[in-house]
Every structure is written in C-alpha cells, then in structure tokens.
C-alpha cells in the first residue's frame, strides 16, 4: 500500500515529456528510493509477518507438534515470503505505469523489456535478504527486533550503493544494483552481483533452514 502511494508521489517534478528517455528517468527516480529503502524493508516485514502467527502464544509448539516436517514448514514460509514479494513488485510496476500515464502523461512507448527485466531482477536480488530476514524472524520472538536489524543494515546500503567494490557484495545494496538499468549481463545485472546474490542466497537459505530444523521449540 505504502509502496504504491510513494510511487505516486516521488517523480512529480520530472516534467512531462514525450522524449524516449522519459520512462527511463521516471523508472530510475522511483527505483532509487524504492529499491534501496522500501524493498528491503518490505522483504523484512513480509518475512516477519509470515512468522507472526506462530510467535503469538505457543504457536510454534502447536504447529511443530503436529505431524509436519520442519523443512516443509520452513520452505513454505519462505515460498510465501517470496510470493508476496513478487506481488509487491508487480504492484510497484503498475504504480510506475500509472504514474507515467496519469500524472506525467508520458507519450513515449513503454520500454517493457527494461521494466520487466528490472522488476524480475529486483525480486531475485531480494531473495538473499528475504532469506536472512526469515532466518532471524523465525529465531527471534519479537516482531520489532528483525525489523530494527533490517533498518540498521539498510542504512549502510545508502552509502555503499555507489561504491563499485562493496556494493555487489552487500545484500542490502543488491536490489538496488539489480534494478538499476545497465546494459550488460543477464537481466541487466552484472555477473559480480549475480554471483553474490547466488552465494548469499544459498548461504542464508541453508543457514536459516538448518537452524530451524535443529532448534528448540
């Protein structure tokens, strides 16, 4: 909800244009704020929400005393986190389009390729972060602590995202890098970033999963 609203507000002052760059400018402006601040936050919130029901009362005990495999429980939480994240990405894409048409009256053709690639890449780049957030969300009982951790780790991303040496290896900067339009690599993502995403993703998924199946309830 919030994300969509902000989508409407940001690029008011870009000036209406029918220039072919106008979509790129609009997209870049929105992505600047969205990918670096909101997307990581949303990923964290979604992960926490997926565990909230179980943290209340003795929910984990009730759930895990049922004949269900812990692996299945963990993976389905992860699946839902990613599913909702994809939904949010879809909504933001719609927000960009609405913004372009209704408020800025852009007449240039929509650069579908760039937009769709950007949002899919952004979604993929958020996977490691979502995995880490799910890990801490299943671990810590509170709703606030994982959220606070998330915010704290988001702040350096603001500074790091412009550094070409550190940004690709910092999970909180990756959505930004992935969504930023560049011309090379798979889905407009540099190979470096892609490798980090893969390694971080696998590490956090396996770490969170192992911790979850072994832990005390």
């Amino acid at each position: 909800m919030l994300v969509v609203l902000i989508g409407f507000v940001i690029p008011r002052n870009l000036g209406p244009s029918s220039h072919e760059w106008s979509w790129l400018v609009l997209y870049s402006a929105m992505v600047q704020i969205y990918a670096i601040v909101l997307l990581p936050m949303v990923a964290g919130i979604l992960a926490s929400l997926c565990c909230r029901g179980e943290h209340l009362g003795s929910g984990w005990k009730q759930l895990l005393a049922l004949p269900v495999s812990r692996t299945v429980v963990y993976l389905s939480k992860f699946f839902y986190t990613l599913l909702f994240l994809a939904l949010v990405q879809g909504l933001v894409l719609v927000a960009v389009l609405v913004d372009g048409f209704l408020f800025l009256h852009l007449t240039a053709p929509i650069p579908w390729q760039m937009l769709i690639k950007g949002f899919i890449a952004g979604w993929i780049a958020t996977i490691p972060l979502a995995a880490l957030q799910l890990w801490v969300s299943t671990w810590w009982k509170s709703f606030g602590a994982p959220f606070a951790l998330n915010i704290i780790l988001t702040i350096p991303a603001l500074a790091i995202s412009n550094s070409s040496s550190y940004a690709p290896i910092y999970p909180w900067a990756q959505p930004m890098l992935a969504m930023r339009p560049t011309k090379n690599g798979l889905l407009d993502v540099t190979p470096e970033t892609m490798i980090t995403i893969t390694i971080a993703g696998i590490t956090f998924i396996i770490g969170g999963w192992l911790h979850f199946i072994k832990r005390d309830v």
Binding site: G57, K61, A65, D216, V217
Partner: protein
Amino acid sequence: MSEIIIETSNLTRKYGTKLSVNQLNLRVPKGSIYGFLGPNGAGKTTTIRMLLGLIRPTSGQIRIFNQEIAKHRINILRRTGSLVESPSYYGHLTGYDNLHVVAKLLKVPVKRIDEVLEIVRLTPAAKQTVKGYSLGMKQRLGIATALLGNPDLLILDEPTNGLDPAGIHEIRALIKDMPTQHGITVVVSSHLLSEIDQMATHVGIIDHGQLLFQDSIGKLREQSAPLLVIKVDKPDEAQQWLQANGYQVIIDGDLLQLSNIDVETTKSINKQLFQAGFSVYHIKEHRRSLEDIFLDYVGKEGSL
C-alpha cells in the same frame, strides 16, 4: 503384562550446565491416565517437549508406540495429540474455523471437526469467534484440536492451569473418559496431587529433574496406610517388649510408630502394654494424606 506406550531410558536434558531432566525412565502403560506430577520447575514441560520432538534430549532415548522418536517423529506425532501450555488461536476466527485450519494440515475429514466439538461440548459455541471464549472454553478447544487426528495418545501439559473449579471439573471429566470411551492413553502433568489423585491410574513424581516415584496410584495410596502412634513413659523398653511380641515398631523421638494396624490390634496393644506395666499417655491413628506423601518425596520446599 500390559503394553507400554511411552518408554524413556535415561532421558536427560541440560540447559547450560543445569540438569533440567536427569536420567528419566518413564513407563506409560497403554490405556492408562498417567499423572506426571511435580512442583514448579521440576522438569515436566521440558520432558513433555522432548516427548513431542520439540527439543532434543542431551542424552537418553524415547520410544513411543515402540518407535524411536529421533527416527520416526512424524509417524509418532500422527498418532499423538498434544496441548502444551495455553494454546494460541486465531482470535478473529470461530472455534470451528480454528479447528478447520488444523484439520486441513492433518488431512482429516471435516466431519471430524463436529465430532471433536461434540466430545468437548463446544458445539453451541462453534460459530462464535475465539476472542469471546472463556479460558475454560479455550482450553477445551485445545483438547478438541488435540483430538482431531484420532490420536492413540494424548499429552497434556497442565491443562487445568488457571481454570476455576468448574472449568477444572469439566476438563477432568473429559480426561477421565479418554481411555474408556475413546481408547486413548493420556499423559497429564500437574503440580497438584489432589488433581492427579482424582483422575490418574498411574503416577510419576518428578522433582529437580529426577523421577522419585513411578507406579500405579494404588501403590501410592498403600503408602498412605494408617500408622499407630503411641506415647508411653519408657519408649525404648516398650519398643523392645512390642518387638518381642512380634510387632514391627519404629521410634520417632519419644513416640512409637506401628504400621498396618486395624482397630482390633490397636485395642489389644493398648491392653497388653498396660498389663506389662507401661503407662500409655496417648494412642492415636495417624493417616498420612497423599499430599503428605507427595511432600515427603519432593521435600517440604516443593510449592503447592
């Protein structure tokens, strides 16, 4: 010899260096209501969490339905219903819908929901949201949830905690029916002996992580057989004289104690002591309550 449903061997769990559960050898016979009794912090919940595979033992084994829990957790849980501490629900959903969520997970037919609601007598409140349930109703809904999967074993951790006498009575009546009406073996923990006394067929007493007593409730009651307490002028001589006449006597201070006594023997002992020249100041029958016995086991500091 009846079948054993739960069997643990040297079950131990440490938190840091503290032994919360120490070398427990539980035996829960089929069809029993096993009262798992101990004061606060004795290790009941820790043991139950191990039985349900929620935490791992530091050492020792658990066999339920003759299967190792470490290897067959899901198989065992499929046949086990449980209630650990006060259960949480989706407050905005009705009692029925809360059961529906679990029924789906367990893949049991929806008509089982009506059956369990009937068992815990919650049918009239089924369409009400759980927010409006009393503590007793929530606890009964918890038992209904535990019964959903047609379990052979029910494990309940302090199911009457926080309930008023009427609520306690209802839960107790429900539990008592389980073995007879539904063929379910029940393990129920409590820190109140009086409560266990009214429903259990078997008792395990735990304190400081150790099992101090385990047997049928009858065996525990035998220990509460009356004692004859006698106060005489020369207790040492009187003890010797009584022993010479074939009685088992122990001295406690200046009092003599005899066990397994009935009214006739009491009369004749009194008469004989008098004839032998002892002055009997005081003679009385002392019946120890189960509560006394429990306190003897767990030490007086046990909270009750």
